[in-house]
């Protein structure tokens, strides 16, 4: 399959370029002056670029990037802590009603986000955690946890029982087996779930808007609002915010892609 790799590389580059064209366009708009925004036909390249968007963003938005990072990492941690043990149980420990639980987890993902957000608002106001970073982490994890359980359990099902039986014979209890054997073997699914939950939390807007809109620590997605005034929107700044916000996540993506999912659904496929 390595015949003529250059042909495939060229095609790959072309396909990637087509796919990323809107991202390029986003960068283009971020460098466009206000009066050129609606030029018809539009400029393929920003012929009269302005750095106004970027100077504004770098001056104002960097703290929000920090908050987004905290929220993202927190969501990853919480998602892993919640979903990995549950998946282990569903995959290997045969709880009674496990099938029902899996189904419920599927249904949980069917609830539209706006309904969740409104429900959370009421809970958060009562608990006093509105406009907090912790509250947002909790809310963002609801996007990722059911999916996490799904991925982990699919993978864990593929772990050979001999491995676990051997541990049991050696005297390990379920928890020991979980931490010393199951989790290390599940490293790829761990990376996959971490990646998904981080990205979902990073780009979340609805929960942030409903539940953390008033706080001092806002994620970057809300930082965009600084450029959406009541009568006027500064599109070059909005797009510049998006570009700046995408860079850390893109770097993460490129690094993690190697580890993601190699064999994550191996269990499902082999069975």
């Amino acid at each position: 399959m390595l015949r003529r790799p250059w042909w495939q590389t060229t095609l790959g580059i072309v396909l990637t370029a087509v796919m990323l064209f809107p991202v390029y366009w986003m960068i283009n708009v971020s460098l466009t002056r206000d009066q050129d925004m609606r030029k018809s036909p539009p400029n393929l390249f920003p012929l009269d670029p302005t750095l106004h968007g970027y100077t504004t963003v770098l001056g104002q938005q960097l703290p929000f990037l920090g908050t987004s990072l905290v929220v993202g990492l927190g969501t990853v941690a919480l998602t892993l802590v919640l979903s990995a043990p549950a998946a282990y149980s569903l995959a290997k420990l045969n709880p009674r009603g496990g099938g029902a639980m899996s189904f419920v987890l599927l249904i949980a993902q069917m609830i539209p986000a706006i309904i969740m957000a409104m429900g959370f608002y009421t809970i958060y106001v009562k608990l006093g955690i509105l406009d907090t970073v912790w509250g947002l982490i909790l809310a963002d994890s609801t996007i990722a946890v059911p999916f996490g359980v799904l991925i982990f359990s699919a993978f864990m099902r593929g772990i050979p029982d001999e491995l676990l039986n051997a541990a049991r014979i050696d005297g390990a209890n379920s928890w020991r087996t979980f931490t010393s054997i199951v989790m290390p073997v599940s490293r790829n699914s761990l990376v996959t779930v971490s990646l998904f939950s981080f990205l979902w939390a990073w780009s979340d807007f609805l929960f942030a808007n409903t539940l953390d809109g008033g706080g001092d620590a806002k994620p970057i997605t809300l930082g965009i609002y600084a450029y959406i005034g009541n009568n006027n929107q500064e599109w070059n700044s909005i797009m510049a915010t998006a570009v700046v916000a995408s860079i850390p996540a893109a770097v993460l993506l490129v690094l993690a892609q190697r580890y993601v999912a190699a064999g994550v659904t191996a269990g499902a496929v082999k069975d």
Partner: protein, 416 residues
């Protein structure tokens, strides 16, 4: 071993559960919950997220707070979110102390019961022009005071008009406007841009034409209303207005005007500085048969939501009065590019900047959308109006059919 295992596992489960619960319970963070329990901190919500704490507006709000002896915690939200946030907060009894909202929303919030009227909160409204205050008056009670007013007019690009050989003073009514647009198109320019989107902005932009034909919001399917919609549809069909108006917000419409190809752009007071930069002029929107068309009032209102601790109203009143009167409000309105709401202050603004003449006159002739006792019927009517306009603009229904369907829906919804 059995007990140990069991205990260990329970411990894990308990720890996990406690983490979840603890996250909920223990983080009564000081990064700004809307709790009004802390005396001396008053919450302030406004629809200006573009102004942060270091902006002139942010500093003014803080100053009025300290002048009243308290700290003000201000948050800017997107204006379209603010109604729902206010309702959700009000439901939980966590309304902010001061709520600055877009004027057509005041009647909705008042009806929901989360706002206090001037009888309760003690705000004085005597100096405010009646037509601007109108949006805040429901059933004889006043629920807010305006921060300022803005409205719509017709900006024009002198270069494009000159190239087309159109004299702007000849644009006096619909016929002459359409004729001017024809000339502009013939000379290679683009005619007029406005916002005909299916949101409140679309209704806002359509109203001067709607009212300019003599139509009333209580009767959407009158022949006069049809005439107004025919006007817009005719422009789109003949190419005098671009297809993108169907999707334009007022901002994107302004961006189109800024590109320099359009002769006319319908937009608001808030663009006057930007207009000056591109040397655009402004005229009032003409009515069908001449004269200035009635235009809707824009601009936000200060409202004071209901609080459990009624003693707070005295301080809140001070904060609001500080922001809405005197030199403070003139400065704010100049920043926002609004016209002040009281006649005497309007004279002050005019004296400082005579180019505001057209705007001041327009604002003085404007009327509130929720006025004429429409109150909460206005949102229902407005939604049907922008739906009808969209149907006609996009060609999926004729203007008369669209308006008839709109009126029927309004009738069935408001009769419930």
């Amino acid at each position: 071993m059995r007990t140990k295992t069991f205990l260990r596992i329970t411990a894990v489960a308990a720890a996990a559960a406690c983490t979840v619960a603890g996250l909920s319970g223990c983080s009564a963070s000081s990064t700004g919950s809307n709790s009004n329990a802390a005396k001396g901190t008053y919450t302030f919500w406004d629809p200006y997220p573009q102004y942060d704490a270091s902006s002139a507006w942010g500093k003014l709000v803080a100053k009025c707070g300290t002048d009243a002896g308290v700290t003000v915690k201000r948050t800017g939200y997107d204006t379209s979110d603010l109604t729902n946030k206010a309702l959700l907060a009000g439901q939980q009894g966590k309304s902010p102390d001061v709520l600055l909202v877009d004027n057509p929303v005041v009647s909705t919030l008042a009806k929901s019961g989360i706002l206090t009227d001037t009888g309760t909160n003690g705000l004085s409204t005597g100096s405010i022009a009646k037509n601007i205050l109108g949006a805040g008056v429901i059933d004889g009670k006043t629920y807010g005071v305006p921060i300022g007013a803005n409205t719509l007019a017709l900006y024009y690009n002198p270069k494009v008009l000159q190239k087309a050989g159109v004299d702007v003073s000849s644009v006096k009514d619909w016929a002459s406007l359409t004729a001017a647009l024809a000339k502009v198109k013939a000379s290679g320019g683009k005619g007029i841009t406005f916002s005909g989107i299916n949101t409140e902005e679309g209704s806002f932009q359509f109203l001067p034409w709607f009212w300019g034909s003599g139509a009333e919001l209580t009767k959407l399917d009158s022949s006069k209303a049809e005439a107004a919609l025919d006007l817009w549809k005719g422009w789109i069909d003949k190419g005098y207005a671009p297809n993108s108006v169907i999707q334009n917000t007022q901002t994107t419409s302004w961006q189109e005007f800024q590109s320099g190809d359009f002769a006319f752009g319908e937009n608001g007071t808030w663009q006057k500085d930007s207009a000056k930069q591109m040397n655009a002029g402004v005229i009032t929107i003409p009515a069908e048969d001449g004269g200035a068309a009635p235009v809707p009032t824009g601009g936000e209102f200060f409202t004071i939501p209901v609080q459990k601790d009624t003693a707070r109203y005295a301080v809140t009143k001070k904060i609001v009065s500080c922001l809405s009167s005197g030199d403070n409000v003139v400065t704010t309105d100049n920043t926002l590019n609004y016209i002040t709401a009281s006649t005497s202050l309007q004279d002050k603004q005019l004296a400082a900047d005579p180019s505001l003449k057209t705007w001041v006159e327009a604002v003085q002739a404007a009327k509130a959308r929720t006025g004429d006792n429409l109150g909460v019927r206005y949102p229902v009517i407005s939604e049907q109006l922008w739906t009808a306009v969209q149907k006609a603009e996009s060609g999926s229904a004729s203007p008369s059919a669209a308006l008839q369907a709109a009126q029927q829906t309004v009738a069935s919804k408001t009769s419930n």
